[in-house]
């Protein structure tokens, strides 16, 4: 490839990676945690008992109906989520209020696996809030969030492709990591983390774009189905074969036996497990029951839908096999979500997500390191570099640390606070703002070390907070074989240790280079210090 083309690719790689790099880092960290959403949910709702044996779905249906009849007899819609392995360990119910009712609805309400009664759990965003944030962001409307995430994903995709083109020694440097060599080490780690997880990164960005294609390509729908919400609704009905729900008749009629509907669904689905049962207008003559199978058994995400009459229990409709184009889209979505992944494969997903986060973090740092050298040689360093460096420290370390604060708030906020779940999210973002502020005001040479120490302290405190505020402390969890609670506590200690290692490494680097080299503001003007860090004394390997 021509030299000018490679240079153009290099520029594209650098700027697409940098401009939305912090958004991408946010998406990767929260998305990676999304692979542990159920486990985080469980830790953040310690009232839920450990599931020691498989829950009988048939019993769960009967329990759910009893709870719904008692709690929401006049609801316009009931939803029952049945226990379904790792992704849905508990049965849960939720409902939507009727048009006449002032209450909008409630749920999910989890059911006790032993007694079948509803469990009182604390209000929390849990792991689902973190997972949702990676594609919806927070404090912005869903549409804005999706567009920002879409543009960032496109930038990531471009950065990956251009990165492949500009990485001239891809095979020669395949296993190369040279620690302790400053900029060279950052570049090695950037290359290593991206090349070794490249199939995952390509899949996750491409499927991420596919996930939201109906948001990013609205004109295609408008062209065929007409503009506005009506056109979109018609398209989604066609594309996803959603059952038509008639309006309520206004005449009362008893609901068909959901246990019988469940039993018939199991035989019709031929091995696939039932994930949810929805009852529209329960108690009305026009009631409709929609049964959905679990699509998390394979990457193909092939969920089937069965529609029954809500009074007679007669089968009305069965979803057709999906078209080839839908199968290919579902496959990409299934691979992206990884719901089918068993523990070992989930660990690979987690590792690849972490490597993606490292790739972005090292890319951001590398941008600073390179310009630091050029800036010092020239005019003492540009001001934006100073701020990019601070923003990097406040985000790369500050974001995981503020997620630790989010976990801590789950244990510290009063259980009867109104809007408790929203407050937990506020804690996450306020603490992130504090980390960014600390990064902005502290000396550049110390900021990484201090942030890492703070993050290590927060994560080390989480198991302690858990032990003090709940009865599910680590030794008890281990003794009871409650591996989710114990695993979370141990993981927190592991993350704390990792941050301590980063802090130690940064401390060693600072001792070797007493002056940061970054331009500092002294008396209102920028002053650059002479850099003596080892990275500047090391000749660049050929």
């Amino acid at each position: 490839m021509a030299r000018s083309s490679v240079k153009a690719m290099f520029g594209l790689h650098t700027w697409t990676g940098l401009v939305l790099g912090w958004v991408l880092y946010f998406m990767f960290v929260t998305g990676t945690l999304g692979y542990l959403d159920t486990e985080i949910d469980r830790w953040m709702m310690p009232e839920l008992p450990a599931v020691t044996r498989p829950i009988e779905a048939n019993t769960a249906v009967a329990d759910a109906v009893a709870v719904l009849k008692a709690e929401a007899p006049a609801a316009s819609r009931w939803q029952i989520r049945l226990p379904n392995g790792r992704n849905q360990p508990y049965a849960a119910v939720s409902w939507r209020g009727s048009a006449q009712s002032a209450e909008p609805g409630a749920g999910p309400i989890y059911l006790d696996p032993e007694t079948g009664s509803s469990l009182a759990v604390r209000a929390t965003g849990g792991g689902q809030a973190l997972y949702r944030m990676h594609w919806q962001l927070h404090y912005v409307s869903r549409a804005v969030g999706e567009w920002v995430v879409g543009v960032a994903t496109l930038c990531m995709f471009i950065a990956l492709i251009t990165g492949l083109v500009i990485h001239r020694r891809l095979l020669a440097d395949f296993f190369t990591f040279r620690p302790g060599k400053g900029q060279r080490s950052w570049l090695d780690m950037h290359n290593l983390s991206s090349v070794l997880s490249l199939p995952f990164q390509l899949m996750i960005t491409y499927s991420g774009l596919l996930f939201m294609m109906f948001v990013y390509l609205p004109l295609l729908i408008a062209m065929w189905y007409g503009p506005g919400q009506d056109g979109r609704s018609a398209f989604f009905r066609d594309a996803f074969k959603r059952p038509e729900v008639p309006s309520a008749a206004g005449e009362t009629a008893p609901v068909a036996s959901l246990s019988a509907v469940y039993a018939e669904s199991v035989s019709l689905l031929g091995g696939a497990s039932v994930a949810s049962i929805e009852v529209h207008y329960p108690g009305d003559a026009n009631a409709l029951i929609i049964v959905r199978s679990s699509g998390s058994g394979s990457p193909l995400h092939n969920s089937q839908t069965l529609t029954f009459h809500g009074v007679s229990g007669e089968l009305l409709e069965r979803s057709d096999p999906p078209s080839r184009s839908k199968v290919s889209r579902d496959l990409m979505l299934g691979l992206h979500e990884g719901l089918f992944a068993e523990p070992l494969l989930r660990a690979f997903y987690l590792l690849s997500g972490l490597m993606g986060s490292i790739m972005i973090a090292t890319g951001l740092t590398l941008w600073c390191r390179k310009r630091e050298r050029r800036g010092l040689r020239a005019s003492g360093g540009p001001l934006p570099l100073h701020w990019v460096e601070r923003l990097n420290a406040g985000t790369v370390i500050g974001l995981p640390a503020s997620i630790g604060c989010y976990f801590a708030s789950n244990r510290l906020l009063s259980l009867d606070l109104a809007g408790r779940a929203a407050m937990e999210m506020d804690v996450l973002f306020y603490s992130w703002a504090v980390f960014l502020f600390i990064a902005a005001v502290r000396p550049a040479a110390r900021v990484w070390q201090e942030q890492s120490l703070l993050a290590a302290a927060i994560y080390a405190l989480l198991p302690v907070l858990n032990a003090v505020t709940t009865d599910r402390h680590l030794p008890k969890s281990l003794a009871q074989g409650d591996w989710v609670m114990a695993g979370f506590d141990v993981a927190c200690l592991g993350v704390s240790l990792a941050f301590l290692v980063v802090a130690w490494h940064q401390g060693r680097y600072t001792r070797q280079a007493p002056k940061s080299g970054l331009p500092e503001r002294v008396g209102g003007r920028l002053v650059s210090s002479k850099r003596t860090a080892p990275e500047y004394g090391v000749p660049t390997p050929r």
């Binding site: 395949f174 990591f177 290593l192 070794l196």
Partner: protein, 106 residues
Amino acid sequence: MIGIAFFCAAVACAMFALTQQRHRRQLFLGVLTQSQQGQRRCLASVLLMVALAICCTLRGPLLGVLFWLGALSVSGLATALVLAYLPPGLTLRAKNRNRHERGCHD
């Protein structure tokens, strides 16, 4: 069995690394001839294919490929980190083999 697939992938990655000039220099190993390099890379490729075959047999073609890619990532990362922090782990065996190849005896 999946452990065997991982072992094959790890050995293949180590073999690929030890055919690269940079890492041979790093480990004070002699230069390989073109044919030696080709043979070892072929053998490493065969090991990777064996790992893929085991994964696909055990988990089916789709999940098998995912497992295989995961095994490659983990093995590649492990190889890079061992080369960076614990090179003696690879050197001792490599040195002995190298001596045998050159007909050197202690």
